[in-house]
Amino acid sequence: MLTTTVAGRTWNFKKAVGRNAAAGNGFTQPYDVALGPEGVIYVLSRGAEGAGGVVAPNKRIGKVTMDDQFLGDFGHSEFTWPVALAVDSEGNLFCSDEHLNIIASYNEDGERIGEWGEVGSDEGQLNGPNGIAFDADDNLYVVDSGNGRVQKFTKDGSFLATFGSAGSDEGQFDKPWGITVDSSGDLFVADWGNDRVQKFSAGGTHLMTFGSAAGGELNHPSSVAVDSEGDVYVADWGNKRIQIYEPDGNVITSLHGDAVEFSAWAAEVINANPDAQKAYRRVQDRTQIGLLDRPVGIAIDADDNLIITDSTRGRLQVYTKEKDYMDPQFNL
């Protein structure tokens, strides 16, 4: 459905950006997306070890724009298992690596400006850092996945606080993945192994839980984002969709992906490839081209564009939320 409408809200599919490519203007298993200054969208390619070793060049951070410009990439051969991105108030980019147990930072030119992280399970040590998110004071929350907790650091890596432990009770985590901070400073953590998202105060007090495995509502969620009206978007990784919740935890609707039309970069490939053109013409049902396949990261920009990394398909899918939409009371 190119337009998904529920009472008071509409999400219009806007476009897809990117294509599957191990280098250049494409992505390899994009795992996260973050917004830089002046319309720059950073896209993290998780990549694969098979193509060039454990620290392979296809693991990289691309710089693109919403209007399909490819501004270059960086970080090649610097990561083993990169997971997540976050941008601080000065426009510097941070990236976690769950195998190297580091948080690396870059300036706007893509130059490495810092790196911290010590492996272990003591306070301030990391075992598989996953999702990262800044609060309004430029402190960094890190999902310390292997230790089943969330830790708070200064952006230089000084330990500030920790909460949570491994388990399945309220406030506990099982291999948690993504995290976000909303405009009032509350935290949302994608508790992957427990099939839920948990919301916490900035101090780590459990506030509420979104979703569960019951009825297949959530299956191993990978990340979460909150829009300007407080609606909550969960990348429902196992179910290959985005679940949208009202702030009070009710499911509003799901997005399954609508990128049936080729992205600009994808079209370049098709236009040069007579075999592919013919083959696409023979395919009767093209809906599956557009479906999300393992969505991982979500970012929401100032215009309430919802940017989703569609990892298996090597692209971004973008939706725009239309606010205060009322279904017209006539038969179309």
């Binding site: 294509r19 599957n20 490519a21 494409g26 298993q29 795992y31 998780r46 694969a48 070890e49 098979g50 070793g53 454990v54 083993t80 298992w81 195998h99 291999k175 993945w177 992957w192 191993h220 990978s222 990784w237 196992g238 080729f262 970069w265 994808a266 490939v269 098709i270 490839n273 075999d275 592919a276 083959a279 696409y280 023979r282 395919v283 009767q284 599956q288 081209i289 396949d293 393992r294 990892s311 298996t312 398909r313 090597g314 692209r315």
Partner: protein
Amino acid sequence: MASREDIALMSHLMRRAGFGASRDEIEQMCEQGYEVTVEQLLNPTGPPVDEYDLYRHHPITEVPGGAAAPGQAAWLYFMATTQRPLEEKMTLFWHHVFATGNAKVDNCFHIMDQIAMFRSQGMGSYRDLLKGLAADPAMIYWLDNNENHKHAPNENWGRELLELFSLGVGNYTEKDVFECSRAFTGWTLDAKMPRYPYGRFPWKFVFRPEDHDYSEKTFLGQTGNFNGEDIIEIVLQQEACSKFIARHLYNFFVADEPQVPAWNIEEPRNPEAVEMMAKILVENDYEIKPVLRAMFNSDFFKEALNQKVKSPVEVVIGTLRGTGDLTGSDPKLEALGKEPGYLGQDILDPPSVEGWHTGREWINSGSLVKRVNFVSDRVSDTSLPGVQRMVEHVGNNGATMSAEELVDRCLDIMGPVEVSDLTKHELVSNVESGGKIELGGESFSQRTSETFALIAATREFQFG
């Protein structure tokens, strides 16, 4: 404490019905008994492999594209971490029989899909497997059934179904191949989504009635308007079919047979055993579990210790599990996935539809170097948890130890491996040349692990 014979027998069972087991596990199995262990293998209760953890950490392995390597890594992960070993070993067995290769299919995701079918149905009904294969997208493309048309039959699938998947050469005529192929016309693939620019999308089996030959066929002496399913039913009625599958099971699980193309010329190594297994297959309507049960509990199985040259997959997985070198997602997984290929068995990419030649054909001077080094690299690495446990096992008895005792205990924990006097002499001399043995400490670990490495290099260790 279990006797030496009990441990040897249980280790044999676990090598054949799985990929080996630690000594602690073997001891525990000996305690519960052999037949109970066989039942546990046949009816596994362990959790399935944690696929989600694999795909989260190695996303490329979920939808491998044209390259086999990510799929090989995924399957290696399954084999190295499974707690349902016979289920995974049967998956490998059916891949040997129904060998389908990425060199042609060029869409490894679909071969993985076929492998998943073997995993879920491998101990179930052979009938269901054949019918599943006839509609399996990877198999259809591999054997050109998408080119098998009403007015232009392609015999590739029809022939291999009879020659390699059910009856064996000599049990059908060329006419039967043709009629069989006609019955499978119209069993094809829906239009495929191109791989560019978003990667692979699933292929779909479709039956196209307009391309199916509905006219009468005479197949293996029966006449009718047969379709593919009817053909499979007729195949299953042939005595040759049960014998063929029984011989495959014997070759894979019990002792090395000649290569498949020789089967209509050379008698089975143990005709009574094959006969017995074939009979059980028929009596149980081609359910696989009963014949496995009878085989593992038979004397001929129990007497077949070290009668097989280990396949490269058995060498690699047995070593990874035994040494604890791969216990879950790990950045080295994708490189490890290629190792069986370096040793001579490119899983998901067999040399042809005939599968691999087994037995001594696994070994040549190039592959032997790789095989010995793969094992010795790991068993001599005392940082690996499994090697540490093996060293402890060797050193946990008494305050002194002769070189011969050390060698005996190393041979015991690595198999047990039975070696010739000559081999034994060399192993002992190697230890002796290092001087007096001090129990415990780093030098003991080193000398023990070196002995492991030299045992891995012996001729005897290549059998299992």
